[in-house]
Amino acid sequence: MYLFNRAFAYIRKQKAKTILLLVLFFLIANIVLAGLSIQSATETAKTLTRQEIGADVIYTFNTSKLNTDFRSGVIDPSVDRASLEGAPLYGNLVQLLDSDLIKSYDVISSYEVTTDDLTPYVYTPTSTTTTGTGTGQGGGKSIIGAYTSSGDLSMRTFTRVEPQDFIDETSTLISGRYANQDEIDQGAYVVLIEKTLADLNKIKVGDRLSLTPTLDGYDTIALDFEVIGIYQSNEVVDDRSASMIGSSLLAQNRIYTPFRTLSSMGYTENDMNDVLLDKAIITLKDPLDVETYMASIEGRINLVYGNISANDAVYEQLAGPIETLGQMSNVLVLIVVIAGAAILSLITALTINQRKNEIGILLAIGESKTKIVSQFIVEVVAIALIAFTLSTFSGLSIGRMISDVTLSSFINTETTTVVPTGMGGGNRSATVTAEEIEPVELNVKFDPIVLIQFFGAGILISIISVAIPALYVTRFNPKQILTNNG
């Protein structure tokens, strides 16, 4: 295979061309590697963002749609909101639960109770003016989400051992325990009550309370509940809202109880299905499955007034610019690769023209066309390999620099997105904000397989851009080549 000797002799002799090609390949490889590293960093960033945001899918009313339609009169303000198409009814939720991707779900609904065993907490404004409404006659203001209370205390349901509020740390268990799975499944009459209310009434874990649910169409029978835990609410309610809402809706008067208690109270499965939820939280096994899951439930419910969200707003806000960056680098890489291939073809075409005489000589002494073209390929591939090898060192650090700068600026953007989280519990805001997402360490790592694939593709492109002009010249007979250049 003397073609290798010829190829290396040519590389050594044509120093200018060799250096030009070396620089060209080196530059292209660096840009491509920088692009790839940006991409790898953006992928990591997206994954981490998704993981940070979590695997929660939240089913609530579509508040903005509801507001718009209330205001424009499309729906009557006095309408039974449970009758609205797509409303977060338990029956609708059940349709979302048929998926292998789900780890657990929490069903949050509210009902009110009256009792003689407890004196409800009454809000006393810190400023002097107004006095809190003592008996839950407050509200009455037409804010969506606040409604006239029908009891002294409100029950908030859960179906998870650690209810969502506790996960979100709006509430913290300070003594006693959570309900166990059995109690949850069977709808045992167990409750977690707020510390303020407990202190006020000298209630401790293990005490029993007689509570009378005020449920539409159900007998108001006092039921015996066991206090299994005492929690502290971390909710901060400003004076204005606190004085406006009914006292039963104050966080201090909130009692957590399993959702299935409704069933225990005599709700049939049909009744259960009609229960209007404040919200439902479906937690997936893997945050990265959110898109898949969202796609799989598409169309299961006609969400006219309902909303199923996966903190998309926050995700979009965070991942959007990252994604744009990734796409930009994609385009950049593509342009550079195409331009590189074009430049390489041009250089080859030009030099091949100068090498017509040499090709004629080789043909005249009986060298095969394949070996002549192979020689040209070996020349370029050898240079490409050197350039690519060199670029793995420089390209990686360039890429790391680029992605460190650009991504950290995206991640540190101090923005807050308010994600509406349903209405029943008042205007609680965002479960996740962009601020809460911690800046993530982005390790630009290259899959060696990806690297090899990239180099392989680079070499393939080089081979094609060299082989085409070379094959074109070898088509002629040697006499033609020799005399045209003689």
């Binding site: 295979m1 010829r6 043909l363 002494i365 009986g366 095969s368």
Partner: protein, 230 residues
Amino acid sequence: MSILELKNITYGYIDGNKKRTILDDLSYTFEKGKFYSILGPSGSGKTTLLSLMGALEKAQEGRIRFEGQSLDEIGYVKYRRNHQSIVFQQFNLIPYLSGLENVLNVMHITDNELPQDKQKTALNLLNTFGIVESKARRSISQLSGGEQQRVAIARALATNVELILADEPTGNLDTATQKEIVAIFRKLASDYKRCVIVVTHSDEVAKMSDTQLKLVDGKLVDITGSLSHV
């Protein structure tokens, strides 16, 4: 014994929109062990004829047989590689290879049986043509025209082919070297039983050949003995 048989060779170039016939129904048979010279005025088609015999291109009409086999049967590339070599007027060495590498290159391309130690054989061969090793390893561009031609001749002989074609090989050389090279051609024909065909416009060279041919009106005419002695 016949080695190369040209039969009814016709070859023309398209000049503008007119076809100009250069070789016209040319037939001739060359024999082994003989040194031929082909004379003819400039533009008579000597180079064209040589390139047909060297299978650098194909005649439009007629047939060329090498040792009884048509070039098509042998295959053009194989024929060029294993059965003939050409010493070109403009040397046609590969510019980025040294003289030695140019010789080694053809030794690697040919399928002909060659001595095991190619490098040594090549250096010896170059040496017999006055190219010492230090020169043989030099870049082609650092050799004089005469030296380049010697390398080209060494390259032509390196593959042990039966047919050696040369297109005005001595045109660039001084008289002494010219004589030396022609002597080698003679020796190749007489001692090594090769067929040597040299295109020349030098009567001196032609007179040293066994057979003198002249390309006249697209045909080869034997003019052996008709050249006036100096």
